[in-house]
Assembly symmetry: C2
Homo-oligomer: 550 residues x 2
């Protein structure tokens, strides 16, 4: 059947009936999938399958997501969260998340990518939940089940590039521009001729997930890689469209950016010249915390390492707010200004901070349980939205490594060799860098749920549960500004949030910390903390939560 | 003598004594000019000459520039403004400018460029006034003489690229980045590693012109070609630095952007998320007016042509404020919002609109004197800062063609052929496109001051003088919002500014225009206008200025 031109680059055809497979012929060429395909049951090169979104039996009619400022976010990769690696298998672990106190689950990208496993950032059919995960119905069942357990669902979406295989978009229009470069090649065309339809492609995708899959929000991958000098930035247009859907439906919807810009413009309102996003990931807090716990100082960690920086993150939000970054070779960022800290996400790890290491080590592989517990305490009591990465809560022993399953051998080899080359620059022998294309790399990255019962794991899990419960019960942790005092040489830090003080000793020795108020110890990462007259005595590598009204 | 590293990429050496010639040896290579050379007496490849800025005998101690909102700007190209083509020769014509009523002269770029003549946008030693124009002292004498005549001086500066010949900057540091493309190749590095020093290079240049040459403001060439995704845009940093100099000195300093973005962010304050520039050129108004007067519709004029668009420019500032541009193949711009129209420059022509035509025709070459007078009336009464291009005021018969004098034969040939190719796409025979490298192209672009005495020229000059005097005497033209009514088919337009109405008949026939108020004709572009009871009767192709209090 012929498609009909509708002007301005749009073509239409009668919708195929639900369940029907179809493909498109461009100028008589070989058939290609629909760029807006809702389902690719046979992978990125195969035909598309029509879906009737209205047919799904949703049970979440009265659902309303909790506000983002009170969120505890859990980042989850469907393929490795369970042995089965499917949406359906993930549903079975929702009780664990509910009991942990999670309010928002964030799924790593699910759009159809090449092969059967992938982090998700190689997606090319961004409207189609991956067939190996369980396709459209599987994803809807997962979101519906999360809602039934009182948990909101956020989806990670990738609008800054498309994957290297099965990306037919360029045949359909000017989706890319050579004017700007990204690490993945030509940038998505957000500002040149034909960009309105390209922007619509992504905005419609966002609205589709929120409307047809009942997602409560989106995490926008690497917005710094979207170069858009036009008068209305794509992110502002996207935020306006989501805001309109929110007004029409009365739902709480949110947009969370991954941003390497340290630019409050993302979060400011349009009236204040901003883009109006709700929140952003904040690597500064992560890096400051990570370097303190691990002592690492290579790569981007070279810019971090002092308790003073951690204190600045806690009090100012951004550490790099215009000051010089050695790693970047330039000043970076600007102050948050009137934008609240509670619009930054704070985390001890994320898929990136784990998986972009050569061997995919978690923080629990890199430092002692005591230090991990300190990190967790700070994440859960700092003035940011806390986020966990799957398995963090029990100190999973499984790594999260970089894995791909590119069906094209040349590309597969290029990815494997590129990964080795990347780390050989840092002195890693090739043999120590897991091969992304090796299925074992994927399999060993899967969580091992059986290990939770182990003593160390139980201890950590109990600590996370307690911290999350404390945060959820304590509005002051969300609303009160943080005051911090610290001793760089003594390696301790006190963070006051309203009537509460979090006391942390990073050192391997006992520390006496001057402390005026009378204080009641509510919880501690290890026993032994002493409250003397004008002093707290903290055991080595410990954190304590105190009630200490002024 | 060895230069000493001062860290962060800076190198210093004792300042050569004033008048001394010097050059730099990089890593023992051949000698190159100082990137911040204040004078290149032997051209772009030769040695630099030290200048003692403090030694100049300024006479403008009590000078203060008039505010930009009351400005009448005159764009001037030093090389073609006079037969001699020097700063000194320009001084002799200042009385003409003063008598015309000009408040601000804007010099096209003067930084050392390759060869002896050039528009100025091929400059490479951007701290050095061109040797053929008269070097540093000549420029200072011109600015001092302007000030002595009560005229402010603005300099056009080019920070988005450097010229193709004699550009040694890349040898000194990461001045360029391949991450972004511009029409001139790699973009200036405003956001990548090492950018702080690059940004400083340009900011210091701006401050140098304002401080050492007493310029009252700068016109920033093509800011849309500056791609800077960092949290503090280069333009904001530049505006902050100029603002600081303004606070320290109490002088009125201004920054005017040439911008193709239709983005009020340039003009909004930093508190409102803007860059804090003072004003910008507005091509929308120009294009709307130009197409109405000439009937042209090719190239970017395809987006214009209706009286409704001219009316929108007058009432809204931008015509393309988010609506679809056929020429660009995408939506363009956003509304000015709370930014005042009086921060846009309005003009009937500019060096670009004349010189970027194949044969460099002025508006007076393209339409009748009657229509030119209409154009002038609208420019001088619209809610923008009016600007003239040299010779416009008397309808100069000389063109302003694209000319270069590249001393490199290969580059010269490439520029000549590129120019022919550019216009052959629009159907121009190569023979009809003046050769940029032919000295005649430069010479025929020089103003012919002798022709002013001709009758038609005198008539137009008197009209400009009267309009400028009217504008300068009439604060309502600057402050009052404009109301416009028009008849697209009848081809007339009424623009009310406070108690005044400007009535324009674009058609070749008499037009009766409904008009309620009792009106007194203050001036008209041709005789014969009749004020009847409820009607104005306008002669063909005429404009009238009426006093018509409501």
């Amino acid at each position: 059947m012929d498609m009909q031109p509708r002007g301005n680059g749009w073509w239409t055809a009668p919708a195929p009936s639900a369940g029907a497979d179809y493909a498109l012929l461009l100028d008589g060429g070989p058939s290609v999938p629909d760029p807006r395909s809702p389902w690719q049951p046979f992978g990125v090169h195969g035909p598309s399958r029509a879906v009737d979104h209205a047919a799904f039996p949703w049970t979440d009619r009265h659902w309303q997501a909790p506000p983002l400022e009170s969120a505890i976010v859990y980042e989850l990769h469907v393929g490795t969260f369970t042995p089965e690696g499917t949406f359906e298998a993930a549903v079975r672990h929702i009780p664990h998340l509910r009991d942990l106190g999670i309010t928002h689950v964030e799924l790593m990208p699910v759009g159809e990518f090449p092969g059967d496993w992938n982090w998700g950032y190689d997606g090319v059919d961004i409207y189609a939940p991956h067939h190996a995960y369980g396709g459209p119905d599987g994803l809807k069942r997962l979101v519906d089940a999360l809602h039934a357990s009182g948990i909101a669902a956020i989806l990670d979406v990738v609008y800054n590039h498309l994957g290297p295989l099965g990306n037919y978009l360029a045949r359909f229009g000017p989706y890319f521009t050579s004017r700007f470069h990204t690490p993945w090649g030509d940038a998505v065309n957000l500002s040149e001729s034909g960009c309105a339809q390209v922007r619509r492609f992504f905005v419609d995708n966002a609205l589709m997930w929120l409307r047809d899959y009942h997602f409560d929000g989106l995490r926008l991958d690497a917005v710094h890689a979207m170069v858009d000098p036009s008068a209305t930035h794509f992110l502002e247009e996207l935020a306006n469209s989501v805001e309109q859907l929110q007004r029409e439906t009365g739902r709480h919807l949110c947009l969370i950016a991954e941003s390497d810009l340290n630019d409050p413009r993302l979060l400011r309102s349009a009236e204040s010249g901003g883009y109006g996003l709700d929140a952003q990931w904040s690597d500064d807090f992560h890096h400051a915390l990570h370097t303190l716990l691990t002592g690492e100082s290579s790569g981007y960690y070279t810019d971090f390492g002092s308790i003073g920086q951690l204190a600045k993150a806690i009090t100012n939000g951004y550490i790099y707010d215009g000051c010089y970054s050695r790693y970047r070779g330039r000043p970076h960022g600007r102050p948050l200004g009137s934008v609240s800290h509670s619009r930054l996400l704070g985390y001890l790890q994320s898929h990136d901070q784990v998986g972009n290491r050569a061997a995919g080590e978690r923080i629990s592989h890199l430092c002692s349980l005591d230090l991990v517990k300190i990190g967790a305490a700070l994440v859960m009591t700092a003035p940011f939205i806390p986020m966990l990465f799957q398995g963090e809560e029990w100190g999973a022993t499984t790594p999260f490594q970089y894995f791909t399953n590119h069906p094209d051998p040349d590309l597969g080899r290029a990815v494997s060799e590129g990964r080795q080359r990347e780390f050989s620059d840092f002195g890693w022998p090739a043999a120590d860098v897991p091969d992304p294309q090796d299925p074992e790399t994927f399999l060993r990255s899967k969580l091992n749920w059986a290990e939770i019962a182990g003593a160390q794991h139980t201890e950590l899990l109990d600590w996370y549960r307690a911290l999350i419960a404390f945060r959820r019960q304590t509005p002051a942790l969300r609303s009160a500004p943080a005051e911090v005092s610290f001793d760089e040489a003594g390696r301790y830090l006190l963070m006051r949030r309203g009537d509460f003080v979090i006391a942390v000793n990073f050192s391997k020795a006992w520390r006496g910390v001057p402390f005026d108020s009378g204080a009641q110890v509510l919880d501690a990462s290890k026993p032994g903390i002493e409250t003397l007259d004008k002093e707290l005595r903290l055991p080595p590598e410990s954190a304590a939560i105190l009630r200490a009204p002024r």
